[in-house]
Symmetry: D3
Subunit: 126 residues, 6 copies
């Protein structure tokens, strides 16, 4: 059931995952063109899904990285690789996730993800 605290919980979770990259939704195309969807996503996805008990935060991060790799949603994958470091995944674990993906989603699919991971690891200094 929707709860009036979902939005606040979602923003807190989003801040935790994105760390210093967090910005309160200001400049994205989504926030500009569809502010109510942007809010709905903060409320529903970050507030009601990512905060659910029953699955460790680093596990949620790992499956998000796996799915975004498989679907090749590359800008989001880059963001969630960086989020993964804040969610408790090590550089080593993220690398292992992408190695594993090479065989389930195909080698080219994984190679593109490694390119982004390299960029993130450099930007984050890990």
């Amino acid at each position: 059931m929707a709860d009036k605290n979902d939005l606040a919980k979602g923003l807190k979770m989003r801040k935790k995952l994105t760390g210093k990259r967090f910005s309160k939704g200001g400049p994205t195309a989504l926030a500009e063109l569809a502010p109510d969807l942007d809010e709905m996503l903060n409320e529903v996805i970050f507030g009601r899904v990512w905060t659910r008990p029953g699955l460790e935060l680093k596990m949620r991060s790992a499956i998000t990285i796996a799915a975004l790799t498989a679907m090749q949603r590359l800008p989001q994958l880059k963001g969630h690789i960086a989020n993964g470091l804040n969610a408790g995944l090590s550089k080593k674990e993220i690398t292992e996730i992408l190695i594993h993906m090479a065989f389930y989603a195909g080698v080219p699919t994984a190679v593109n993800a490694f390119q982004l991971a390299k960029e993130v690891f450099q930007e984050e200094g890990v």
Copy 2:
């Protein structure tokens, strides 16, 4: 580097994951038409990838389920949901993985996975 023990390690891992569903490759279309690929997969994927240190077994299982859901490879997804129970994922954790996928890969994508999960949970009696 390839190691002459990879195939044995792979068959052991495959047996661990598939438990009572394990069969030594006999009847599948892959084993029949391309026995060397079937062996290569046992050796490389189960022997050299699934056995890698650096990522917990249940985490490997979770990301496999996430990727197969995102790509909708349904027969393989069904098998890996069952494998997940042997890899240490609880019914609750598998359910949470699929809930999470609804928002990253779309609701219809997750709904098809829930159908298979229901079948597996009934077959495995969990």
Copy 3:
């Protein structure tokens, strides 16, 4: 913003779209394994998205059919072809949507959708 009436609005919309196929969520795998996601979907997707002003209902139905065809989520596509008839799309319009898809998503993709459309049109007697 979430509204306490969203769930009721969603169930009303879902009933309108599914007509005589409507059932209050009882038997699906989703409702059984993840009742809170099932409720969230009724509340968010049917209550807060399908009911939005700014896009005619039959247009929402048309784009849902197009996307499900492109992604080949076939069980959901079948349901939404049937929903389309309740949302104001004619058999002719649905057929035209699928013809159009043949060129944007590839012929095989459209051919599978025509198979489902044929089944729906027979079941619905149109």
Copy 4:
């Protein structure tokens, strides 16, 4: 049946959809490497498909945007968002199509489309 006027009809439709962005096929890689496919597409897709009666032009545009979003064919999506404005879709309707897609094709899929929509709306001054 093929008709000798299909190519002319196709070029007229393409011009209508692309407006001031129209160029008679000159510089694209497709026109250069495969001029007969380029002509075939003008003739078949724009001349024989987009001109079919039975589905309003703005509806054809909407389903094209939905399918290209779902498949993430981003350069073509950008072009067809711009075409949509010429086909009778408002900025508001295009935004609603993309909001709707977030739930059927996943949030990351829609976020990438919003980025392109923002660019188009700026370029077209709407």
Copy 5:
């Protein structure tokens, strides 16, 4: 350019590829719901594309099998594996195509294709 002989050429090519499985379009959902698309496909795809010089027929068949495997359009893949035997591909070559796909499109993707290939090879007695 469209030619009045394209439809006849297309039906001849389709007959060559499908051999004893050929039927003149009668019972398919596509032919029933959208007879003009069905005719357009015979005319354009089989008459104007498959008949193009510049690529050996067995090569066209091989790339069709590869693409349908990668996209997992399974009913069409099954048909085109059978067509491949009529286009000059051997059982061995088709098997090699699917082995190759395991690494480019992921193992699960290839495994589903092997299942269909096994069925075709049994039905065709090769």
Copy 6:
């Protein structure tokens, strides 16, 4: 079965396919982050798969191009279009492969591939 010469065979094949673009794995993100996967790919994919008898080298190249087009793995597609010229495919054959794909994977999918082919043909001076 794995063979200690697989890695050497793989590097030789990779050199043949990539010609003057060959570099011994040094600078890629994959080689940097996951050197053992990079070696495994050289050993398994280039050493044990591309070298298999039973399918002509130019046919392996053609199906790789087709699959990468269908899946839109664009950086890899660009590389394999260039590799195709070294594997014995002519510019004309590669163009025909992409024309064929327009109908099986959708026109937008092929259009993106033509863009890359144009770049490769210019870079390679063919």
